[in-house]
Every structure is written in structure tokens, then in C-alpha cells.
């Protein structure tokens, strides 16, 4: 298959994948990327050469939410001096376990300090794999391979870095569906009770500081369904208003969120912290109801911000103590 045809296949299937969470994407790591200009800061080919290979993800930091993945690095065809471009497909966990797919390319290569390896900007592939039509979404750092294994760090969507480990695939090793699940590397969980050293630091009434314009305001009869829909999805529901009250021993947070004209109340229990990390369990119907998700974020000095996950929905919230 010609290089251009391969690219077209990647582009076309990328669109299809975006529509459905279907699997069967061995093509993703056999496809090619084109049109990448010479990097401003060339890296010697001898430094890049050990990374030119096909890989499967074997371990990943649990915070990344990635189940599995494949990746390939190859020298851009005809490039002189030569430079590597990578392409990967990651399968991610949705909050309730459904699998979503994400395509990324990695460019340009940069030498890490002390000869540790190579770093790449992670570019998210949307409707096109053509350079110039990609959006920066993070960074991949790869440490010099040791035999068939390679470790690294990944930042995506403003999160991380998360540790990653890859294994080189044999030439004839192909996956007809999603690769096997990578081992989840669990980071140190916060364990101190509450959301700060002293209850006076975090107890009280908070106001939402990242409220968006009410999308239902001018929607007439469609306002209600818009309000419901805007509260769905794992990419961050649109919250127009909200508040939070933290009280009690052990501390419990009551969170009121408004998406359009739809109000939702969540109860957060098992509040724990470590450094600037703030974590809690999320309930829909009071503290004694079954947990439906988790709050993960950061905080301190009267502020708490993060993702509140409830079933299929993720609410990106930022609160400030009144």
C-alpha cells in the first residue's frame, strides 16, 4: 500500500473511530504520517535510531485512564537530516468502563538532558493526520530502550506526567483488535483525612468560579433537554452555576451544580488530601447512597478545583471559599 493511501486510510478510519468506539485498529500503527517539516533543532540520527520501532503499551499510570495502546516511530521518508515521527493509538477507560480511542502523533523529536532519551510533543489527531492540522495535547518522553523494553512519561489533556512502559513488537506481531490491557501503575493515593491540615482551612461555603454562560437561556422549549444533555459526557459538562458546603467530622461536602435549568446535588464523602491533591467519593443521593464516582483535583488556600465524576458525566469545577 502506498504511503499516501495509508495516510488516507488513517484519516478516514480516524473519523470513523471518533464516531464509534469500535476496535480493530492494527492499521493505526502501520499507517504513516507525512508533511512534517524539518525540526528546528535537529537531533543526531544515531540518537534517534534506537527508538525506531513498533511498540505495545505494557504499563501506564492509572491516572491517565488508558487501558492499552500501540505506537510506532519511524523516520520521516526522504528527510535529510533524518528525524523520527511517531503515531499511536490509545484506548482509554470511560468513567463507567466503556472504551474510547484516541490517535496521537509525536513530533518533533527533542533530545532529553544527559542523553536520557527523546521527548516529543503529543499532537492529537482529529479529522486529519497532516501536520499543521493537529492540535498540541501534551508530551511524550521516551527513555533509551533497554532490550525490548522502553520506559517513559506521558502528559495528555493537561494532566500527568504519568509513567509509561512499552515493549517492542516483533515484525510479525500484529493485533487484529485492541492490544492487551496494560498494567496500571497506581500512584501514591492521598491518605490524610479532610481537605487540609485543619478543618478551618477547608470547612465552609464555597462559590463556583468557573461558571459558563447558561446554554439554555434562549432555548425556549428546547431548554430543558439542552440542560440535561449538557450535563452528560466525560469531556466535561458545562456548569453554569454552583456552590459547595464542607462541614462535619468526618467532613462531608454538599455540591450543588446547575447545567442550564437542571440542578444536581452531589454528596462527597471520604475527603482525603496529600500535598495539593484533593480526593473524595461522589454520591448522587446522600452520603449513605452507593458511590457513583470520584472527585479528583487540587486545592489549598481556600480553593478546590478538579473533576467531579458521576456515572457518565464529568463536571469540571473550581470553587473558592467565600
Amino acid at each position: 500500500m502506498g504511503r499516501l493511501k495509508q495516510l488516507k486510510l488513517v484519516v478516514a478510519l480516524g473519523g470513523a473511530i471518533a464516531l464509534s468506539a469500535s476496535v480493530g485498529v492494527a492499521w493505526a500503527t502501520t499507517g504513516a504520517t507525512t508533511g512534517y517539516p524539518q525540526p528546528k533543532h535537529p537531533v543526531p540520527a544515531t540518537v534517534q535510531a534506537p527508538f525506531e520501532d513498533r511498540y505495545v503499551l505494557t504499563a501506564v499510570g492509572s491516572g491517565a485512564g488508558i487501558r492499552s495502546g500501540e505506537m510506532k516511530f519511524e523516520f520521516e521518508e526522504g528527510s535529510s537530516p533524518q528525524f523520527l515521527v511517531g503515531i499511536s493509538q490509545f484506548y482509554s477507560y470511560g468513567p463507567t468502563g466503556e472504551i474510547e480511542t484516541g490517535l496521537f502523533t509525536f513530533y518533533p523529536p527533542k533530545e532529553l538532558p544527559n542523553g536520557k532519551g527523546l521527548g516529543f510533543t503529543a499532537l492529537k489527531v482529529g479529522a486529519s493526520a497532516q501536520y499543521g492540522q493537529l492540535t498540541e495535547d501534551g508530551e511524550l518522553r521516551l527513555f533509551t530502550p533497554e532490550g525490548a523494553k522502553m520506559k517513559g512519561e506521558l502528559r495528555l489533556h493537561g494532566g500527568g506526567p504519568w509513567p509509561v512502559e512499552f515493549k517492542v513488537l516483533d515484525d510479525d506481531e500484529r493485533y487484529t483488535a485492541s492490544p492487551p490491557a496494560a498494567r496500571q501503575i497506581h500512584e501514591a493515593e492521598p491518605s490524610k483525612p479532610g481537605w487540609g491540615g485543619e478543618p478551618s482551612e477547608y470547612e465552609g461555603e464555597y462559590e463556583l468560579t468557573n461558571g459558563a454562560e447558561d446554554p439554555t437561556a434562549k432555548a425556549g422549549s428546547l431548554g430543558a433537554v439542552i440542560g440535561v444533555a449538557q450535563g452528560l459526557g466525560v469531556k466535561g459538562a458545562v456548569v453554569s452555576e454552583g456552590s459547595m458546603k464542607v462541614e462535619g467530622d468526618p467532613a462531608v461536602a454538599t455540591v450543588e451544580l446547575e447545567t442550564g435549568d437542571t440542578n444536581r446535588t452531589f454528596t462527597l464523602t471520604k475527603l482525603v488530601w496529600q500535598g495539593d491533591q484533593r480526593v473524595a467519593q461522589v454520591h448522587n443521593e446522600g452520603p449513605d447512597s452507593p458511590p457513583v464516582g470520584r472527585f479528583e483535583g487540587t486545592g489549598g488556600q481556600g480553593e478546590v478545583k478538579g473533576d467531579l465524576v458521576s456515572g457518565h458525566s464529568v463536571y469540571k469545577v473550581e470553587f473558592k471559599l467565600k
Binding site: 434562549k218 422549549s221 459526557g233 459538562a237 437542571t262
Partner: protein, 152 residues
């Protein structure tokens, strides 16, 4: 593939529905008995529709599909009712067209919800926001139609 095929099929059905509804609307687009009848009829239909939508309440996750289906049914009925009235001006016609535009979007949202693709449901709802049905209703002086149904 089956998913894409169903999307195409839904698109065709949606297009047919819009075409059919548009036909009804065009017949009422001729100048006739005046806007008063349209306003009164539309206000009455909107009040009933908003009541039905408000009565649906706020759905839990597992009820979202039924919620969207019920809303779609109500908006379809509302559209049929106002399209059957004698829209006398551009603003009234624009409101009727806004309702027609919403129906295929709601169909797609329902389909996405059935597939538990809730990100798609949220993203598709941007299409409803863009219609600005409340603004169209205000422009046509349809006070009840401009109101957002609020669950009890």
C-alpha cells in the same frame, strides 16, 4: 458499519420528516387570516408542550434515552401543531422552521443516548443551542414559547 448505516438511515428519515414538515409549513406560509390566530394557537401549543416537558423531571443516567425520546415526541407534536397554523410573517415562519430544525438533532441525540455515547449527546445538543428557539419565539411575540420548561 451497522452504526454508520443506522446513522445514514436516521439521516434519511430525519430529512424526510423535515421535508414533510416543511411542506406543511409552506402551505401555512401564505398570507391569510393574520398573526393573531397563529400567536394564540402557538401559545396554547407551547404551554401544553412545556408542561409535558417539565413533567418529565430531571432524568437519571439510565433514563436519558427515554427522556430525549419523550422530548422529541413533544417537539414533533408542537411542530405539527404550529406548522398547521397560519404563519403570517417572517418571524413566525422562522419559529416554525426552528422547531423543524430541532427534530433531526433530537433524533441524533436519542440515537447517541441509546448507544450510551453521552459525549455525543452533549456535543449534539450544541445544535439545539444554536437554533436559539427562545429568541425566535420572542421575535414572533410568542411569550409562552420563549419560556424554558422548568421541572417541578
Amino acid at each position: 458499519m451497522r452504526y454508520l448505516a443506522s446513522l445514514v438511515a436516521i439521516g434519511v428519515v430525519g430529512a424526510m420528516a423535515v421535508a414533510g414538515c416543511g411542506g406543511g409549513g409552506s402551505s401555512s406560509g401564505t398570507s391569510g387570516s393574520g398573526g393573531g390566530d397563529f400567536v394564540a394557537g402557538a401559545e396554547s401549543a407551547c404551554t401544553a408542550a412545556n408542561k409535558q416537558i417539565a413533567a418529565l423531571g430531571t432524568p437519571q443516567q439510565e433514563q436519558v434515552t427515554q427522556y430525549i425520546e419523550a422530548t422529541e415526541e413533544t417537539i414533533e407534536k408542537l411542530h405539527r401543531q404550529v406548522a398547521g397554523l397560519d404563519a403570517s410573517g417572517a418571524t413566525e415562519t422562522a419559529y416554525v422552521e426552528g422547531l423543524a430544525e430541532a427534530i433531526p438533532v433530537l433524533t441524533k441525540m436519542g440515537n447517541a443516548a441509546r448507544n450510551e455515547n453521552f459525549d455525543a449527546v452533549r456535543e449534539l445538543s450544541a445544535g439545539l443551542v444554536e437554533i436559539k428557539l427562545g429568541e425566535l419565539a420572542e421575535a414572533a411575540e410568542l411569550k409562552s414559547c420563549a419560556e424554558v420548561p422548568v421541572s417541578a
